[in-house]
Symmetry: C2
Subunit: 263 residues, 2 copies
Amino acid sequence: MIIVADNIRITDQIIADAISQMNPVPIQKMVMECEKAGAQFIDINSGPLSRVPEKQMVFLIDAIQKVSKLPLIVDTANPRAMEAGVRTCKNAPIINGFSLEPSRLEKILPLAREFQTDIIGYLLYPNGHVPPDGDKRLEIALELFEQLKKTGIDEKRLIIDPVIVPLSWQDGKFQAMEVLYVIKHLPDIFGFPIRTIAGLSNLTSGRGHKAQKLIMEKAYLSMLAAAGLSMIMMNVFNRDTIKTVKACNLLVDEKIFAWEEMY
Amino acid sequence: MIIVADNIRITDQIIADAISQMNPVPIQKMVMECEKAGAQFIDINSGPLSRVPEKQMVFLIDAIQKVSKLPLIVDTANPRAMEAGVRTCKNAPIINGFSLEPSRLEKILPLAREFQTDIIGYLLYPNGHVPPDGDKRLEIALELFEQLKKTGIDEKRLIIDPVIVPLSWQDGKFQAMEVLYVIKHLPDIFGFPIRTIAGLSNLTSGRGHKAQKLIMEKAYLSMLAAAGLSMIMMNVFNRDTIKTVKACNLLVDEKIFAWEEMY
């Protein structure tokens, strides 16, 4: 699994303050720490509620690109912020993302064609709701795929996010197992090893002890790895979770085993 | 997964010394600690090399039964020690175990019929070698099943051990993934939810740092849980690994999620 830092997000108070003050330093410090912690991609989530979304996204990306060469994922539901962000990236980023929601289909998806980028597709209903099970998610994956092709985007550009939901939901555990099922079966359905991404922290959002949440996240992370997940979006400052990613990668890749690979 | 302590084994120096001195106290202390740590079964491995196998096994089981009511797994390749051990158990233990090795088929397997016990069957070649892949293991599972039925033992008595091998073997990683495949597919092949057991510590036996081994074991443990493993044989004194078992159980069982279940 490729490690994607989800740390640069508007819901982090440090990031929120830095954006509102247009101060790049705290953002740059955090990005350098993410890279040091093992991040291989940086997801940049500027939030949906901003009054000046383009300006904020451009500020964030400019700040980050001054200190890191890591590839970026531009994460916003705002099409203007997305376009401004993608234009600001020195190298083609990943667009995060689209779904069957009409606004995303119409305004986000075409940007992947225009800028020749990869794009993340969420397995959600057109109204943004989470499907009840894995089979429904697989159907939606095929619909996303059709939309992608209809828009004239190369099929290899698609990265599927099966959408992890909180365990605290009434059907949270069932959904967690269904997500594994989806990751396992997507390559068969598509007929090629389509890439997948998932946001780990969503699993344990809500109440609960931090220590328990971390144990649970690591357990589920290993299950995601065994199912074949390509990219894991996570808080890269959870050191033990990073170690678990490395252990999982060591288990599931095809090289001969060597403990040295864990570093 | 049900937690089986593998701690009571002749290769542990404390146990070896206690047996050679016929001193039950260190064994009883360890068993009580195992129970406190979360063990739900105790595997009793008296070793194959003893000059007085029956006496040692009876001594071990007697000692343990004085301090614990946990169900026992009698683990020896010596048929006389097995028979003496099973007779000594107050409640029917699990016999561990048989394989296609002629000596085990002829002398261990019939004990499960005689004493009406469950029995563990190893997916190994008749010469004791490990099969090269999962499909070969599944074939062997069916052969074990045939032997079991031929011996007049109820099919529900069988517990399959797919045999985890060290990652340090040349094909160790491949084998680790094949074991997951086997656990996943056994119920389809048998047509009922046949139970499975696996020895976790074997994964990381050999050289390597303790901390890395524990991370690797936990990662693989979660994969075993997702594959559907019924019983995990492990060092129950690894507290974090026990916590991982509980997190996995919480994920894969069918109850509504509650953090409280992790205790």
